[in-house]
Amino acid sequence: MSDPTEAVVQGSAEMAAGTAPPTGRGHVTRHPSPKEYLRIALILAVITAFEVAIYYLDLPHNILIPALFFFSVIKFALVVLWFMHLKFDSRTYARFFVMGLAGAVTLFLVVLMIFGVFRG
């Protein structure tokens, strides 16, 4: 994967050469192509179809539930990293989002532990 710094340097070079978009406050950066987005979307669709398919299998809950969680985490990550561009953007955005997400997960676990949900 190209170094984002290289992309910015290239962008600056393009601006100097007059091939970048003519603006005073912008720079050229790199993002996935539409084909890449389509590929991600197909992966998401396949995973969703798979999730629904395993729902109908008579799997024990101690296999089904972790499997469903695993697939939903994969889908979550794909959308956040590619569609929301977190993979290609500043880490500052990720820090703020992950803080909220970590808070939500912590809240989820603490509330459920307090009320003994995991004791079954």
Binding site: G26, F83, F108
Partner: protein, 208 residues
């Protein structure tokens, strides 16, 4: 997917005048989305906490139609694709195509909302109201909040679409499309969690 995934130069604005070197609005949107995670975390926690605690039906297995809801999920996933394509094309300066993808996203969002309304109506006719039991309360509040987020997203998309016709959305201010896109994708990832936790993960048919 390899290193060649980043293969197309596009334009992205950057406000160099900020103390962070990052666009303030985009940073604010990410902070907002982080806070919205907490809201949905609380609602999902409430649903899971009271799962199986209803003393009378209808219960989830009595009302859920997984194939129907799966189609809704596919619709919302497709809308995420169209949204990111709208951003991709406006960052390349193609306003015309951006309008098409924005309209597609809004239509898919409306389809999802329509599906939710139909689903809620069906559940209601099957005897599941907001105050019927704990399942009804937590389910409707959680999915209702999500549906409201989707509805607000649709309003934002249609507003954005109008702005493109007024010539106010260009390659230089494509950040506006990006901000709406971030919100829309967040709505999608919340549904990914809701679909799994509420619909797919089996719950007891009756009281624990």
């Amino acid at each position: 997917m390899a290193s060649h995934s980043i293969d197309t130069p596009t334009y992205e604005s950057e406000h160099v005048g900020t103390s962070t070197g990052l666009p303030n609005l985009k940073l604010a949107m990410w902070v907002f989305l982080g806070s919205d995670c907490l809201l949905f975390g609380a609602l999902i926690s409430s649903y899971v906490l009271y799962r199986g605690a209803s003393v009378k039906g209808p219960y989830p297995a009595d009302v859920f139609d997984i194939p129907y809801t799966s189609v809704s999920s596919f619709v919302l996933l497709a809308s995420s694709l169209t949204m990111v394509l709208a951003l991709a094309v406006i960052q390349r300066g193609d306003v015309g195509r951006c309008r098409i993808w924005l309209l597609a996203t809004a239509l898919l969002g409306m389809t999802f909302i329509g599906g939710q309304v139909y689903e809620f109506t069906t559940f209601y006719h099957e005897g599941l109201a907001l105050s019927t039991n704990l399942f009804g309360t937590t389910f409707y509040v959680l999915t209702g909040f999500h549906g409201t987020h989707v509805a607000i997203g649709i309003v934002m998309l249609l507003t954005l679409l109008s702005l493109t016709f007024m010539g106010k959305i260009t390659q230089e201010n494509s950040e506006t499309v990006e901000l709406v896109g971030l919100y829309w994708h967040f709505v999608d990832i919340v549904w990914i969690v809701i679909f799994t936790v509420v619909y797919l993960i089996p719950s007891a048919s009756g009281p624990r």
